[in-house]
Symmetry: C2
Subunit: 204 residues, 2 copies
């Protein structure tokens, strides 16, 4: 990995296509000497309000397409999923708060935490919507679980998540997954091939 | 081209990404022994009302991303465009009505008409929003221009377009470009690679 700026990877823990992208982004970036800066985001909670739109799954026509595309992507990539895209979503707040707190205080454990949370939620069908659940995930990810539990007694995790979301909004992030390569935005798992071409050619 | 069912290509004449896809879809389909069934659609006029959403360009965050992606796609593919994505759009109704009337009465001229109209609008920056304009385009495309002009004196072109839009909505078409391969939906120019893999593998 070179000294070039990392690729920013913005994701929402409850976004299925964010999960799909999380399984590919590090290997893709490494091919081009890049590291990845994982940054959790709140799409349903924050961005859709800014955009003035409803959830994509609740949007006529588009929702049905996404259900089909979700299942099709999983089949194509051989992913076993334990959660229906239509299952009531967990609150993404506890995991987002834990992520940003780890990113500040134990930066090398934030990504393992996110990967473990994503797997727990989508591949294992577990809840990630409570402090207890995310502390358990932190323990599995060797991510300072006891300190994290204590931190949830303060306002800091929530404040750090808010700051992360504000930063992402200021950069124009509106979906999950969303990538920034030296400021160049790529939205959606379908853009990974295009982004890879951008990396290979150094832009165009 | 084999006797397998054609790929349905749904497009809106005023959709830039529909135009981009129109330049690639026939060659892509031919690689897999498929013809293409071009079908014009009305996204802004009809589909967005069904979805209950506003125009993508008018959507905060998403609009700015699409402006950038439009310019980026054109650069990547070496396309010279004479129209800004933010220029006031033409009415897509005259071209849509002409297209469906040709498709019924001169089926081999409908696609040449659509290609000529797309080029006129996006690559040459011409108006396509009047009967006179689409009759001129039909003349350039050797598409029964005089008969078409006469047909606009009847309700038939409008009725045929309405039927085409209803058919597309019933199939779940909600954007441009939108493809159906043996009923399998693919939305967006970014899905062409995935659709090609689907064709190559015969699905998954």
């Amino acid at each position: 990995v070179s000294d070039r700026a990392p690729i920013e990877f913005h994701f929402d823990f409850i976004s299925p296509f964010g999960y799909f992208a999380s399984l590919r982004i590090d290997a893709l970036a490494a091919k081009y000497g890049r590291s990845v800066d994982w940054r959790s985001m709140l799409i349903g909670v924050s961005v859709l309000k800014v955009m003035g739109v409803k959830s994509l799954l609740a949007t006529p026509l588009k929702g049905d397409y996404l259900r089909r595309d979700f299942a099709r992507y999983a089949r194509c990539h051989g992913l076993a999923l334990a959660r229906s895209i239509d299952a009531p979503p967990a609150s993404p707040l506890p995991a987002g708060r834990a992520f940003w707190w780890l990113r500040r205080h134990h930066p090398d454990r934030a990504k393992p935490f996110a990967q473990t949370a994503y797997r727990a939620y989508w591949a294992e069908g577990r809840d990630i919507g409570s402090v207890e659940a995310v502390v358990a995930i932190a323990r599995e990810a060797d991510a300072a679980a006891d300190d994290l539990r204590s931190a949830f007694g303060s306002d800091e995790p929530a404040a750090l998540l808010r700051a992360g979301v504000e930063d992402a909004l200021a950069k124009g992030v509106f979906g999950s997954p969303f990538f920034l390569v030296d400021g160049e935005p790529f939205f959606g798992v379908e853009k990974l091939e295009s982004m890879e071409e951008w990396l290979a050619r150094g832009g165009w």
